[in-house]
Amino acid sequence: MLILGPIGFTVPWLLWGLVALPVLWLLLRAIPPAPIRRRFPGVALLLGLADEEQETDRTPWWLLLLRMLAVAAIIAGFAGPVLNPEEKVPGGGPLLIVTDGSWATARDWTRATARMQAALAEAGRAGRPVALVSLTDLPADGPVFAAADAVAAGLPAVQPAAWEPSEKDMVALAASLPVGGFDTLWLSDGIARAGRDSLLQVLEAKGSVTAVESARNVVALGAGGYESGAVTATVLRARTGAPGASEVVAHGLDPAGIERELARAPVAFATGEGMEIATFDLPPELRNRLTRFEIAGETTAGAVTLADDALKRRKVALVTGGAGREGLELLAPDHYLRQALAPTADLIEGTIGDVLLAGPDVIILADIAKVAEVEDVTAWMEEGGLLVRFAGPHLAASDVGRDELDPLLPVRLRAGGRSVGGTMSWGEPKTLAPFAEGSPFEGLSAPADVAVSAQVLAQPGPDLAAATVATLADGTPLVTRRAVGDGQIVLFHVSANAEWSSLPLSGLFVQMLERLAVSSRPTRPEEEELSGTVWAAERILDAFGALEDAADLPGIAGERLAEPRVGPDLPPGLYASGDRRMAVNAIAPDRMLIAAEWPASVAVEGLTVVRETLLKGWLLMAALALLMVDLVASLALAGRLTGMRAGTAALLLVLMPAVSPDGAMAQDASEAPLFAATGNVVLAHVATGDAQVDDIAHAGLLGLSTVLFARTSVEPIEPMVVDLERDDLSVFTFLYWPVTADQKAPSPEAYLKLNRYLRTGGMILFDTRDADVSGFGAASPEGRRLQALAAPLDIPPLEPMPSDHVLTRSFYLLQDFPGRHAGRAIWVEAAPPDAERAEGMPFRNLNDGVTPVVIGGNDWAAAWAIDDTGRPLLPVGRGLGGERQREIAYRFGVNLIMHVLTGNYKSDQVHVPALLERLGQ
């Protein structure tokens, strides 16, 4: 390569061509432009006229210069000019390429692969043998040097793993290095880990080491968990030299069971901070559905934290003594507990013996004094169970825990309890004191209107203060607790109903229960608990953070699972053993990321190769542009640039700058019709791919729109055709879907859109256009196709339209719904089974919503269709009867659109007399 200043030439000998330029100059100069032959009668007058300047038979100097420049540009272009050429000193000897192959390399894996490919290609040119080693996937007998192209062939098989290389791996590699010197190219993921320095020392002893690191920071998601009622996720980063920001996204299942984004939480790192906590303030309903967290934009296993049982709904057993008091629901001891817990927990009821068998996380005893199964309950508590007890008349009246500490009570109790602020006692009902620091209720605010009028009292003692987590304003304990093994007992000194206090009526009650329930969630199982169990992987994470099926992985012993370190024998993922599910994440719970540091002897490169800028394209482009100018100039000079040609030439010159070697992509945005649809009512039909059906559907909707415009206050604009794959459905209220036998099924994404559309109040009118000849959906090709098309749709149970359906009276009173065919039943959402006939009304009180689909086969669009002049497009029936049928078809269309737009408004009309009557009284 010849290098002149910042420009190098890959084929410098071509530059000798520049020497030929002066010769070319003389040649071009001698040859005048070719003459034009013209027939011209006036030639008789020209005879004998001599040209004035002899000079003009030569090409003008500026044109020559232009051509010279063009030729020079072509020669220089083909000589392969390179801006900022990199002059590499090709190393000698073998080359070892080491990649960490961890999850942290996954994000930049394509670039890492490109870098390895470049290194392999370079080594191939230099004839150096190469070995390629991934630290997470070591070859059994050490690296073996081979020809570069042979190694390059195996490059696609090298993939990052979801774990990190262990110290053992590095020691093994250091031990199995081949004899003799070699250079090393180390593609590092930028994280420091044990064993790395020693391996580096070994490699440096063999030859020069070049490190390649991505400029992007490594970010990972550490353990998630609960902290004071909120869900948290720890975000880690390796380089802490600059402030940074990330966003953590919580994914979970929606009510339909589809995984979607539930929440986002931003995290900002200050300089020097390697760890930040992302906090999600989620309602329990959402919290229970969480499946995983991930850092937005990071596609690595380390940026994903899977949620397991720890975030699931807890089983709460509710045991009450007051059974049999029928009719006094509000006074039942467990009424408020049930109300508070039902939304967030799975409630189990029964006797203590029964509920213990179900393995609940929490047992709540509401006003139960004596428990027979003390041993069983204690054993359950020692395994982590939380026993919550509420006081009450029974407990106060009993002598449980009077003389000595009851095993199922946190403190000793004084006999009788006390009553304050009642009719027969002095004093005011007591309010709550603010929750002390360290209490599980810390941070909750005690409402001033919560008052306690009766309670059981704790026996004073040296450990009472430590056991108390909430007190009344006068210092008497309200809630006490005691740890038992892994679990604990919590006693509320008031009853669980509103007899003794207004606490159960306040929101604080729910929050307190929530706090307690949170603190009872199972933590990571301990090793001894796991020992002897075998866990099977259900789904495992790959290095890119995607969940994969783990069909053929062997079972994993519980002991291995207890170690936090993931590796080839324990890939991160979801593991299950019996009922329990546990998530193993790529980042161990107490892991911190530390940026790797390289000694000064190691050259560190960025992952992005500083690209040499090839100037060939630009130079050739310049030559082409010059030649175009030359073309125009020559034409002008020869007098041929007239009229049209002048225009073309001007266009050529103007367009020239628009063409560049990089190419320009035209972008089109044709969203305008959708914008129009947002502000108007628009009827739309689904494109079937059959041009005739689509045209008739369009004409039909045009006809219906015209009728609506003329007869009702609905004023639709021009109908639209909807491409399910591309268009946003949310702007439409009504879709007409003619079904053809060979229609293509929409993609899964389109079905997602359709389901969302149906859920949010859209309506689809399916029309099989076969007059329903074979009974609904049974044997006609369109019917079968409809079944196939509608299977993935979120459609409620259907029934043939009952005679009192709101569609029969939403604008016109109709009992028949013909289209071009006067077919039989059409199907709508089934009425709820408990629909009743309203008193004195011919209608039942039907469901509150709009039926999301109407299915029939009467080919309505054909009956509605009009041409441009407003005349019917297709015949319907015969004679006047046919026109009547078309009119009824239009009326059905009007009713349908009214139903879509006004919902059950007409249904409500049946209640108007009753409402008026009530108002009058």
Partner: protein, 298 residues
Amino acid sequence: MSETGQMSARPAGLRRNAEALAATLPPLLADARHLAATVQLGEHGRRLSGMGDEFWQYRPAHAGDEARLIDWRRSGRADAQFVREKEWQAAQSVHLWVDDARSMEFTGDAKRQSKADRARLLALALAVLLIRAGERVGLADPVAPPRSGEVQLLRLAQAFTREAGSADFGAPEARAILPGARAVFLSDYLGDPAEVEKALGRAADKGVTGVLMQILDPVEEAFPFDGRTIFESMAGTLRHETRKAGDLRDRYRARLAERKDRLAALAREAGWLFTTHHTGDPAQGALLWLYAALRKDG
């Protein structure tokens, strides 16, 4: 018709010729009639008393008038005798010569009529007007001597649709022109001016007066050429090469003006009228000029 006899001599070509004739004649004739219709004219009176059908004036009878000339109805209303005079309606013979040389086929723009087409159109339209006025119209060559009547129009039209000559530049034909008749010469006069001079001289000898109309394409007037060019005459007999056509423009136009001056001088000397018509202009003006010019000195 008259051409039937001519064509029956070649029965094989009868049908083909008839069709070719029918294809070209009606448009040319129709165009000519259309053009002529734009000139609003009455009977072509001579504004002199003489032989004719139309009343001209009553004049008092004077000695020498024959008694049968006296208009008794007019004289009865007065004491003097009046003679009823009629307008002189002597028919004139007009000879048309349309240059059919190759140079006339030139047009500077595909959308523009060629000079030959324009010349024929003008000539035929003029013939329509003259025949409508009762004059006798014919060609300058012996093929079609002057006659009056509608049939002569067909004959003229057929003569105009003959194949063009092969010469590069044409020269006026004056042999067949009747003495004392009028003549109209339509050409571009780019050929040798001596020929024109000769023809004019011969015509003047016979007491023929008339009109010279030079028909030029706007391109021939403007010379909008540039660059290295080889100019060739339409038949290719003449050629001239230049390196820089633009430089010749002024000199060409000077020569053209000189040619026009010479023609005008010639016409003046012979008592003729001369004008230049460009095919870029509408034909109407040229027709009116021609018609007026023929009337003026009649």
